[in-house]
């Protein structure tokens, strides 16, 4: 059996991801997180914040909640079903920073927590920054005139 025949056999025997189910739960949980954010935004505005401050407070609240749930070991249990629903919102980013910070504590504060904290989130920051620069340049080019 050569490699391509083997590859065909492997593909025939490997079950695919349940896409419909995964997308449904991602929509449900991701949507619920966004709805929670909107609810918090309305609450903060009601309590007297202006729209921009309320937006910042919503981000801070969601990041805090995500970190808290990660610390209690609950976030990954939700994410197991929610997939992209918990990954894409800001809560997923918080989880990606907090989980290695907890995990690598036995390696010490500097080389463990400090060095490993951005192991997963690091690439997101790097490529996020690059995307920002490209977007900024395009924006600048189109708004020059």
């Amino acid at each position: 059996m050569n490699n391509s025949e083997y590859d065909r056999l492997m593909k025939a025997k490997s079950p695919g991801s349940p896409l419909a189910k995964d997308m449904f739960f991602a929509f449900l949980v991701g949507g619920a997180i966004c709805a929670l954010g909107q609810g918090l935004s309305l609450l903060y505005t009601y309590l007297g914040s202006d729209e921009q401050t309320a937006g910042t407070l919503v981000s801070v609240s969601l990041v805090f909640l995500s970190a808290l749930l990660t610390g209690f070991g609950l976030y990954d249990n939700i994410a197991r079903f929610a997939g992209a629903g918990t990954l894409v919102p800001i809560t997923g980013f918080a989880n990606a920073v907090v989980s290695p910070a907890i995990e690598f504590k036995p390696e010490g504060w500097v080389m463990g927590v400090g060095a490993s904290m951005f192991k997963i989130a690091g690439p997101v920051i790097v490529f996020g920054e690059i995307a920002c620069v490209i977007y900024g340049m395009v924006y600048w080019l189109f708004t020059m005139s």
Binding site: M1, N3, Y6, D7, L9, M10, K13, S14, P15, G16, S17, P18, D22, T70, G71, G73, Y75, D76, I78, A79, R80, A82, G83, T86, L87, G92, N95, A96, V98, S99, P100, I102, E103, F104, P106, I120
Partner: protein, 334 residues
């Protein structure tokens, strides 16, 4: 005495006098939960790092295996052991205080079979009277080394396997006991170009096929001659592939064929996708489920063929394919 026939070594005079298996909570809740000597519901084992937890798990298992033989650790001339962690520190830390010569092994999830190959050849060849073969894995120490932190919210692929928290140890001796190691077949590394680290069963299936094929050719036995043929941890995908390949070769595996990764968990209820994996998977199923049955005669003849995916996080990131290896151990009731 050891004689060679093809790739297979006939280990005349190697016996297994005692064996022990200890597993973690999830494995204890699985279909084989009652078969293991001990189930530790606290998977930290009271340690402050997962690596130390794994070492403690293996140390306890080796100690239990020794006490079941009514021996003390100094009665053994050699320990063959291994695990999945960097530089095999999981097993080195476990046996460092025993004061017995150690030969550390790395065969990924095939390590228990590799250790038994070594122990049987050493005892049958007269280089040792009593030695120990042992291997371990721990879900939490493996996750942080090979995948993501425990608290990271990710979704697993349906083909992925769940690393078993467990350890197995077997004491091999030249004194007659109810279990003999008839022959062993050290495996060849087989690489079929699989690069998906989430489908290790598929990466390893070709090596299992290669070793089983060599074993049956060398020994003149056929799959029907065995009460159980258990591959290490091909899981659902790999074991299905192996069945297909063996059938095409005219050596179809009958209902006696199973896989340790499928036996140890309830795949649906325990959410482990394609099944269990890790050195501790084959080791604990062999020492907790197969050997007790060979010992009391419920299985007259058993073939344990543990498989290993010889990849590292570095080789994976560099895009290398995943070579597989499989070692076979033929044990029989005396």
């Amino acid at each position: 005495m050891v004689t060679r026939n093809g790739k297979t070594l006939i280990t005349d005079g190697a016996f297994i006098e005692s064996f022990a298996a200890i597993v973690g909570k999830k494995e204890g809740e699985g279909p084989l939960g009652r078969e293991f000597d001990r189930v530790y519901s606290d998977t930290t084992l009271g340690q402050d790092s997962w690596e130390r937890s794994e070492s403690t798990l293996l140390k306890d298992t080796v100690n239990l295996c020794i006490s079941k033989a009514g021996a003390s650790v100094r009665d053994y001339q050699l320990i063959f052991c291994g695990d999945l962690l960097d530089q095999c520190m999981g097993s080195s830390m476990a046996v460092k205080d025993f004061g017995v010569p150690v030969l550390g092994l790395y065969g990924a999830c095939s390590t228990m079979a590799e250790a038994l190959v070594m122990a049987s050849v050493y005892t049958a060849g007269g280089a040792a009277e009593r030695c120990i073969a042992a291997a371990s894995s721990h879900f939490c120490s493996a996750e942080r080394q090979f995948r993501f932190p425990l608290g990271y919210g990710g979704q697993r692929a349906p083909t992925s396997q769940w690393t078993v928290t467990g350890a197995g140890a077997a004491a091999v001796t030249c004194r007659k006991s109810s279990v003999t190691v008839k022959a062993v077949t050290p495996g060849t590394i087989v690489d079929m170009g699989v690069t998906d680290a989430n489908n290790m069963g598929a990466a390893m299936a070709a090596s299992a096929f290669d070793t089983l094929n060599a074993f049956f050719t060398d020994t003149g036995m056929s799959p029907e001659d065995f009460d159980i043929i258990a591959t290490g941890d091909l899981g659902l995908v790999g074991s299905e592939m192996l069945r297909d390949m063996m059938s095409a070769e005219g050596k179809a595996l009958s209902s006696s064929y199973t896989d340790c990764g499928i036996l140890i968990f309830d795949r649906e209820k325990q959410d482990v996708h394609a099944g269990g994996s890790g050195c501790g998977c084959g080791a604990s199923v062999l020492c907790g489920y197969i050997l007790p049955r060979v010992s009391d005669g419920r299985f007259k003849r058993a073939l344990f063929a543990a498989t290993g995916a010889l990849m590292s996080p570095t080789s994976s990131q560099q895009g290398d394919s995943i070579p597989g290896i499989c070692h076979a151990v033929w044990v029989e009731h005396v």
